[in-house]
Structures are given as C-alpha cells and as structure tokens.
C-alpha cells in the first residue's frame, strides 16, 4: 500500500517535471529591434547603481552615456577630441579659459532645449555632489559661466595641468529644467534620467535591469535598436551560456576556460585585444628601500614576464611600458625591461647594498584578483632565488588606496607600504596624474617626482594642438625618462574581451574607457 503511494508520488513528480519542461511559447515582441546585454555589476560595467549622472562611478558611466551626453568625447583609438553637445571651442589665457559653442536645437528627454545654463547647472551639481568621475577630474575648474544661451565658459584656477578637454569628456549634461525643479531633492535623479542622449530610460530596477528606449527627438543619427535591455547576470559561466544560446547578444564576463569553446562557436564573434589597462607594481620611491633606483631595477629584472603572459594567455598580454604603443604611434620604449635577467638583478641588488637574506619587502595586491595574484607570486618566486624575502598581502583596493594616498600626503610611518599593484588606464589624464607631481588628483601614489617628466608632458600637451608628431615625441621622451627612473614594475596589459552574437555589427572597444555599451553605435 505504502509502496504504491510512494510510487504514485514519484510518478506525479515526474509528470510535473515533464509538464514544466514543455517550454512555454513566449509571445512575439513585435517588429521592433531589441538588443540584450548581460552585465555583471561586481567587478565591471553593469546596470548603474543609481541613475544620477552626478553620482556615477566610472564603470557604470559607460551605460549611462546612452542617456546623457558630454560636451566633448574622444575619437576612437586616438586622443583626438570630437564635439558632442559642443559644436566648437576655443581656449584663451594660456589654456586657463575654455569657451564652448553649444549645438543648436538639441532636445532633452523632457522636451526642453539644451542651453548654456544646463551646462553650468550640471557642473555645479556635479561639484556639489562630488561623487562622480568628473567631479574628481575637474577639481581645478574655478567656475562655469553661461555667456549667452549657447555659449558657456569654463574658467580654470591655473593654466596647464592634465589635458582639460580629455577630462571634460566625463562631465554629463542634464536638463536645466529638471536641475532647477529638483535642486532640493537629491533623490530625484537617482531613479530618473533627463539627458539628451539617443536613448531614454524605459525601466530601471537597481541590481536587476536597465531598459532603454530610443529617443525620437534625438539631434543625431537615429540609432538602429529601438530598445536596449541591460540585465545583471553575476555568474560568468551563466553569461557564457546565455550568449551561446542567443538569450543575450553581448556578454562581457565569461570564465577564461570557456573561451576556446566560445571561439569555436560559429554564431559568436569574440573581440579580444591587448587592451590598455596597465598592471604595474608601484614601488615606494619616497621612503624605505625602494628609494634606491638600483634596487627598483633589480626587482624589474627579477620578474619573469613571459611566465606571467603564458600563464594568463587569454586575459593578459606582455609588458609595453606605462602607455600602450597604439597611443604613441606604435612606438615601443626601447629601454623597457621586458625579459627576466637574474644575473643582472643580482648585480643590481649588490650595487644597492643588499646581500642575500638581507631584504624583506611587502607586495600589496587587491583581493580576489587572480592576475595580480599570479603576477606577484611569480615575482616572489624569483626574488627568493636572489635571497630576497617577500610577503604578499591582499586587501580591498579602496582602503589600501586611501591609506597610500594618506602616506603620500603625510609620509606617516603608520601608513607606510613597500609597494602596491595598481591597474591604471592609459588615458592621458591618468598617465599624467600618475607620474606627475600635480597632486590635486592624488593618484600619484608614493609621490614619484621628476620635473623633467612633468615639463615634457606639459610641453607635449601644448604642442598637441599644433603639431601632433612633435607632441608625441615629447610624450615618448617623458615615457623613456619614467622607465629609466623605474617607479613601477610594468607586468603587462589586460586583454579586453567582449563576446557577441555574430550578427551584431558596429561594436568597438574604446581604447580609453571600460568596455563600452554605446548601444547607439550598434546594429544587427
């Protein structure tokens, strides 16, 4: 009796499963073209954590650029800046004053028109909130003036410094009407978006989905896709499966071990290029043993670069120095250490005054970062051959970065560290800020200083507007000088990876930004 009952329960369960496996037919979604993009907020681009363009951390800004637009934006694969909401611009007073002529007739999503006031109010709010990438990059702007409805002026505290236009690309412009009406309600912009971009926000569910609909009043070319659906898929293996099955059109995060399988799939296209995010172990040049240049060089020679590139072949490319060659006309710095030479390392170690067993250092990395872990483990193993002990410490990036910024300012022994592995973008403002004494940006960890480097960068920047070739020559000289000083060990560059369905066209990986999700440039 009991067995019969157990049998019928099992049969019912099996029947239920069979019924469930009969996949329901999804109703047709109509004729409109839709693109679906899987993102993972943790560790990369993704569904924005809030919609506020002035409360936007860098990795989420790429998706928001479909909704909001900047005044200017960098052209593909170069540092050249093109106008977006600004039609033209001039600079005066040695680069301390920038005047922009705005595009006429630009409609925003609330039906209002773009004005100089919108730019001023956007900047003011960005400064007041103080949380966005642009707020951090535009700290030297003294004020923004609306000269007339279509002319706006940025006044800087001082001329020079990192290229202003390049920094301005991160400032997104919102509707003046919305900014005025909701000036006292900081939460309003968190869940609503009023930009001028080719897409409007149709639905936004934090940590889940971000759905965009084409904005019919857009001033520029009409985008191909009527809707774009960003969904959050945290598990990389799931993203790989979804793009394979055509459940999504684009996936950004897939497990490296699944790449051979994905590459052999004829329905997929894989963009995998040696990218631009440089992995460098920054050495403490302002205190402790690494003040000694010979020791820094010894560490650079101790590293086995080939072993690292081989171990992480799908994700990592060999070292190219502080700036990838494509940004300097294909130029590769001749004095860069790219091969291991333990004999030379030993020689330099002796020259620095250290015998075997006399030196012990700490190598700081970020938690849950397998490439970083691999890199310092290889370095550690080779340092051991030289009789140098090293300890690997993995910490969250933000607390460690905050600590090192504090050390850079105060030189307090409490915050002292020997080194820190930092991943840095190649965008000139980053490079400049990272290697210059211009400390307003506070990313020059350990305060590496060389006046020659600073002058060469600034000269290059001034020349860039007149003579690009001579400007690049100055940048090259600056890079050579940096390499000679060896404030970092350059491990290599991260490969950028995007997996797409074969029929998606028009995608490009922007050289200076996180993997972009500019839906307006895509078509099927």
């Amino acid at each position: 009796m009991f067995l019969r009952r157990a049998g019928s329960v099992t049969f019912s369960i099996v029947l239920l499963l069979v019924v469930l496996f009969a996949r329901p037919n999804s109703p047709a979604i109509g004729q409109e073209s839709v693109i679906r993009i899987a993102t993972a907020t943790l560790g990369g681009i993704g569904v924005p954590r809030v919609l506020d363009p002035f409360d936007q951390i860098a990795r989420h800004q790429a998706a928001m650029e479909n909704v909001y637009e900047p005044l200017v934006y960098p052209l593909r694969d170069t540092f050249e800046i093109k106008g977006v909401l600004a039609e033209s611009w001039t600079s005066s007073e040695g680069g301390a004053v920038w005047t922009f002529n705005l595009r006429k007739g630009v409609k925003l999503h609330d039906g209002t028109e773009l004005t100089a006031e919108a730019v001023k109010l956007s900047f003011d709010r960005d400064r007041a909130v103080g949380r966005s990438t642009s707020a951090g990059l535009l700290t030297d702007v003294r004020e923004v003036r609306a000269i007339d409805p279509l002319t706006v002026q940025f006044v800087l505290r001082l001329a020079g410094g990192p290229p202003f236009l390049a920094r301005l690309t991160s400032l997104l412009i919102a509707s003046a009407k919305a900014l005025k009406e909701h000036a006292d309600d900081p939460a309003w912009f968190r869940s609503r978006a009023v930009g001028s971009g080719p897409y409007m926000v149709e639905e936004y569910v934090p940590r889940d989905r971000f759905i965009l609909r084409r904005f019919d009043g857009y001033w520029g070319p009409k985008p191909y896709f009527a809707r774009a659906i960003f969904i959050e898929v945290l598990e990389s293996a799931t993203q790989a499966l979804m793009v394979e099955r055509g459940e999504v059109d684009i996936a950004y995060t897939v497990p490296p071990q699944s790449l051979p399988r994905l590459k052999s799939n004829p329905n997929l296209q894989i963009i995998q290029i040696p990218g631009d995010r440089v992995y460098n172990l920054r050495l403490n040049v302002s205190a402790g043993p690494f003040q000694n240049k010979a020791l820094r060089k010894a560490f650079a020679y101790a590293m086995d670069y080939e072993a690292l590139a081989k171990a992480r072949a799908e994700e990592f490319a060999p070292p190219v120095g502080p700036v990838p060659p494509k940004f300097l006309g294909g130029w590769m710095p001749p004095n860069l250490i790219t091969k291991q030479d333990l004999e030379k390392a030993r020689e330099l170690l002796t020259q620095a005054g250290y015998r075997s067993g006399q030196l012990s250092v700490t190598l700081n990395i970020t938690t849950a970062a397998p490439i970083q872990q691999n890199a310092v483990e290889i370095l550690q193993a080779n340092l051991r051959k030289l009789g140098v002990e090293s300890r690997i410490v993995a910490t969250d990036f933000i607390p460690m970065f905050t600590k090192l910024q504090r050390f850079t300012r105060t030189k307090s022994q409490v915050d002292y560290e020997d080194s820190m592995l930092i991943i840095r973008g190649p965008f000139l403002p980053h490079v400049y800020a990272y290697f210059s004494s211009y400390d307003e940006f506070q990313v020059n960890v350990f305060d590496y200083r060389n006046d020659n480097v600073k002058q060469l960068f600034e000269l290059g920047y001034v020349l860039e507007r007149r003579d690009l070739e001579r400007a690049q020559e100055k940048y090259r000289q600056a890079i050579q000088q940096i390499i000679d000083d060896q404030p970092d060990i350059w491990f290599g560059v991260e490969k950028k990876l995007v997996i797409m369905r074969k029929d998606i066209k028009g995608y490009y990986i922007h050289p200076t930004w996180f993997p972009e999700t500019h839906v307006f440039s895509l078509r099927r």
Binding site: S26, V34, I57, G130, A135, L234, T238, L241, I398
Partner: protein
C-alpha cells in the same frame, strides 16, 4: 507552557542583541572606508568626508552603536550606503523573490526527502533503498553552486528546456506588483501564461536549493526509521496483526519524526544561506544576492540588517520547532 514561551522569547531577544553587537563590531572593524568605497576612487576628499559625516562614521563606534540601536527600536534599519534607500524598504522589496524560491524548495525537499527516507528504511537493502541512498549521498556531497551551474549547462545550454537565470523573460514585463510573488501575482491577474513563465524560471533554482535539504532529510529519516522499526513496540504492533500502513505511520513514523523535525528547523535557517548562493548563480534578484553585493560594497547598514533578519528568522523557526514537539509527541510537556 506560558513560562516556557516567555523564557524562549527572552532568550531570542538576547541572541538577537548578541548577534547585533557581534556583526556591528565586526563590520566596523574592517580596515576600510565605506564612504570611499561607495563614492569611488575619483570622488573628491571633501565629498568623501561629508559623506562619512552624513553616515555618522566620523563618530566613536560606541556612539554609532548607540545611535543605531535607538533607531532600530523605532524600526529604522538605516539607509543603504549604495542605493540611498531605507534598508528595510530594499529588503522588503526583495523578500518576495527570496521566499518564492525558498518556500517551494522547502516544501518539496521535506515531502520528497521524508518520502525517500521512509521508502528507503521500509525497503532496506532493496533496489529502491539503493536508489534513494544514491540520491541522498549525491545531494549531500554536491556543492550548491556546482549543481546550479551543471543544471544550467544541461537544461539551458544543451537541451534548451529551461531558462538559465532570472525570474522572468528579459523582454517581457513581469506581472503587476501585488504580492511581489510572480506566481501569485500572475494568478491573481488571471494571466496563466505569465504564471507558466514564472514557474519555468523557478524550476532550476528551486531544484538546486532543495537538493541539500532533501538529501539530509532523506538520510536522517532513513536512519531514524530504521532504529524505530527495530524497536519492541513496533514488533508488538506487527505481531498484533496491525496493517503495515498503521505500523509504519502510526507507530514507527511518529516516533521517528522528532529528530527529523529538529533538523528541519535548523535546515530552514540554513536554507537562507543556500539561497544566497542560488540567487547569485541564477541571477535571482532576492535578498541573498543583495546581501552579497552589499558585503562587497561595504554597505554596513544592509549587512547588519540582513544578518539580524537571518538570525531573527533562524531563532523564530527553531522556537516554532520546539513548540511543535508537543504536538508530535504527547509525552513531551513544557515546564
């Protein structure tokens, strides 16, 4: 009975307070800066300092704890550092998704697990016993995240029968929010197609979440039943000529089920932990995934509130389990 209930309530309050102190101290002892983490590396120092002040992080930890406690007794769990929304609102918005996953998995794992355990014990050494033991051992030893991924590969990747992730198809609007349970909302709205889609999205995550509980309950029921089936009173019942069904259910099963109910109570709490992993693997927008993201983003208010809810849920469930003993076994009296 009244004294017992009062005693247990007081103990539960103590447990909650202890866990609150522990989580609060631990989360604030992490050598990190949640304000900097929330605002990103490019945020200005002034903005970070202001945000830190707004969050009260510039004050001594004891003062922070006192303020938190005074807000907590008024039902205010604070504001999420990352979303800027009240934590309780965030958690309650996500609760239906988590419950929609947990409830069917617990119900199914209990029914199937106990049925398998009883079948196995009654047919000890036979084919059905071997089959149920294999199922139990497999469910017990396979990690939840691995099982989830394998199910996705087979049923989504290879066969294409079931969706890999999420609560509803990407391109369709979910049923209108009434309870937050997609299955219930679609039924209330009379939209059977939406109900069908919601159930389809539930199959893999529910199966993944239920397997561990099912295995534990099956093994425990089997062991407990085997012990009871060999007892003198069962032999007496058999020798009296009672029907097999009465012997198994009325005499053996009721006595064997007490340890099973105890473990069931513990597993109900542990299922919340399983839900965290399952929600991450299946991109299920529930409380577990939110907690993981908050932990990564150093969102203290969410982490503390989530832990408190977990502890509270765990304590209440175990309290209910203790109360259920008297209903199952009349010999048990509360003093």
């Amino acid at each position: 009975m009244g004294r017992f209930v009062l005693h247990r309530i007081l103990l539960t309050v103590l447990v909650l307070f202890g866990s609150l102190v522990l989580v609060f101290v631990l989360s604030h002892a992490i050598p990190s800066d949640p304000a900097r983490a929330a605002l990103g590396e490019y945020a200005t120092d002034e903005a970070v300092a202001k945000y830190r002040k707004d969050l009260g992080l510039d004050r001594p930890m004891l003062v922070q704890f006192g303020l938190y406690l005074s807000r907590l007794v008024r039902g205010d769990f604070g504001v999420s550092i990352n979303s800027g929304q009240p934590v309780l609102r965030d958690l309650f918005q996500l609760l239906p998704a988590t419950l929609e996953l947990m409830v069917p998995s617990l119900v199914l794992s209990t029914i199937i697990g106990i049925t398998l355990g009883v079948t196995s014990a009654v047919n000890a050494g036979k084919f059905s016993d071997h089959v149920s033991r294999v199922i139990a051992v497999t469910g017990y030893s396979v990690p939840v995240f691995w099982l989830g991924i394998v199910l996705q590969v087979v049923f989504f990747g290879w066969l294409g029968w079931l969706p890999a992730a999420r609560r509803f198809p990407t391109e369709q609007l979910p049923p209108r929010h009434m309870t937050g349970f997609y299955t219930l909302d679609s039924l209330i709205a009379g939209d059977f197609h939406a109900f069908w889609l919601a159930v389809h999205h539930l199959v893999l995550p529910v199966f993944t979440l239920m397997m561990l509980n099912l295995a534990i309950l099956a093994r425990l029921t089997r062991a407990s039943m085997l012990e009871v089936l060999g007892a003198d009173y069962v032999r007496t019942a058999r020798s009296k000529g009672l029907p097999r069904r009465d012997v198994i259910y009325r005499h053996a099963f009721r006595n064997a089920v007490i340890p099973v109910v105890t473990v069931l109570g513990i597993r109900l709490g542990a299922s919340l932990g399983g839900a965290i992993i399952t929600e991450t693997v299946f991109s299920w927008p529930g409380m577990g995934r939110y907690a993981v993201q908050s932990l990564k983003n150093l969102d203290y208010p969410v982490v503390v509130a989530f832990t408190l809810m977990m502890t509270g849920g765990y304590a209440v469930l175990n309290f209910l389990v203790d109360l259920s003993y008297a209903a199952i076994d009349p010999r048990i009296k509360y003093v």
